[in-house]
């Protein structure tokens, strides 16, 4: 049965609110934003996983085992919510849940979450630099979620709300390569 868009939104909102409340109870609101994003990426990235989890004939126990196996590192409240989603066949709501949770979490935290990828770990000075620059720009507090990505070679990539500032050496080199090979 295909769920309508309105239906999905309503369900997603329910999931997101419950998840937020649970996270607030265990004081893991911020951590969960990252884990939820990773979870979404993992689910999206694997067709096998998606089809296994949404297969109606598959026993619930097996699905739970899969979830426990793959996402064992994640917070228990997130895993519990996800298990309910899988059980009720609401896997399609996951992207919306993620979106809603983000919005709710930012509201609850009173800050905007900024994904920062670099090659080397940030030091305090750089963190401050980023926070001051963007909190003044965005007019709200800024929370950094840091990732280490050696593929960047150097520089920094900032992302928030579907927008991205790519100041990495690798993308600049890529641009340079294109310009060089196409320029006459």
């Amino acid at each position: 049965m295909k769920t309508s868009a309105v239906n999905i939104r309503a369900k997603a909102e329910v999931y997101a609110r419950v998840l937020l409340e649970a996270a607030q109870a265990s004081d893991r609101v911020f951590v969960l934003t990252g884990e939820l994003a990773e979870l979404l990426a993992t689910v999206r990235g694997s067709l096998e996983l998606r089809s296994a989890l949404s297969e109606a004939t598959f026993p619930e126990q097996a699905k739970k085992a899969i979830i426990a196996e793959i996402f064992s590192d994640y917070a228990p409240e997130l895993l519990a919510t996800f298990e309910v989603m899988v059980e009720r066949g609401d896997l399609a709501t996951l992207p919306r849940v993620c979106e809603f949770y983000y919005a709710l979490a930012e509201e609850a935290l009173g800050a905007i979450i900024l994904d920062v990828s670099t090659v080397v770990p940030l030091d305090e000075e750089l963190r401050q630099q980023i926070i001051t620059k963007y909190s003044s720009q965005l007019g709200r507090g800024v929370l950094l979620r840091e990732y280490i990505d050696p593929d960047l070679i150097g520089g920094i990539v900032l992302a928030s709300h579907g927008k991205r500032i790519d100041a990495s050496v690798s993308s600049q080199l890529e641009n340079a390569r294109q310009v060089l090979s196409l320029s006459q």
């Binding site: 750089l126 963007y134 965005l138 500032i165 050496v169 080199l173 340079a176």
Partner: protein, 203 residues
């Protein structure tokens, strides 16, 4: 004139006929002449009158009956001859005209033939010129095409070379930067980029 000759001839013929018709009278006259000398020469009225009357009667009969038929025949014949002459004359004129015509035709044909040959020659000339010109332009086009092909080949080779040089440069740079930068250097780059980076609020 002809008429007169004819009359005389007819007269003579009539006399002869008359003398045949009256053989007895003629014989009697002969006898009279022999006997009277000169009297022979002078017509004797006794003989003369009937003979004259006979002659006149014969003359009248002949003139009335034979003469027109005779004359008709003569006329017809004359007309025939005249006609034949005329036809001959016409035929001659006609043949002369035809000959003339043929001659003209011939000369015209000759001229036409010459014209056709001239035209054909001219046509051939222009066709030849055309073919030569087109062959020449074709050759030129071929050369130009070959030249552009070479140019294109060169261009694509250069582009390929440029591409591979760019690729190589970048990958070398990538390696050098990736391995050679210290943490501190990385951080200074990051710091510089943060300062330069744009804002999320734009666009």
């Amino acid at each position: 004139m002809k008429q007169n000759i004819r009359l005389v001839a007819i007269g003579t013929a009539a006399m002869a006929t008359l003398s045949f018709a009256l053989p007895v009278l003629a014989f009697a006259a002969e006898e009279g002449e022999e006997t009277m000398g000169i009297g022979l020469l002078i017509p004797k009225p006794g003989e003369f009158i009937p003979m004259l009357i006979g002659f006149i009667v014969l003359w009248i009969v002949l003139a009335k009956l034979a003469w027109p038929a005779f004359m008709g025949m003569i006329d017809k014949r004359a007309a025939k001859i005249k006609e034949a002459l005329e036809t001959a004359e016409n035929a001659r004129i006609e043949s002369e005209r035809v000959l003339e015509e043929h001659r003209a035709e011939l000369s015209r044909a000759k001229k036409e033939a010459a014209d056709i040959i001239a035209t054909a020659r001219q046509t051939a000339e222009s066709v030849k010129a055309e073919i030569t010109a087109s062959a020449q332009t074709e050759a030129e086009i071929l050369i130009a095409k070959a030249r552009t092909a070479i140019e294109a080949e060169k261009k694509s080779a250069l582009a390929e070379l440029q591409g591979s040089v760019a690729d190589m440069t970048v990958s070398v740079t990538r390696k050098v930067i990736g391995t050679d930068l210290s943490d501190a250097e990385h951080r200074s780059i990051i710091s510089r980029y943060i300062a330069e980076a744009g804002s999320f609020n734009e666009n």
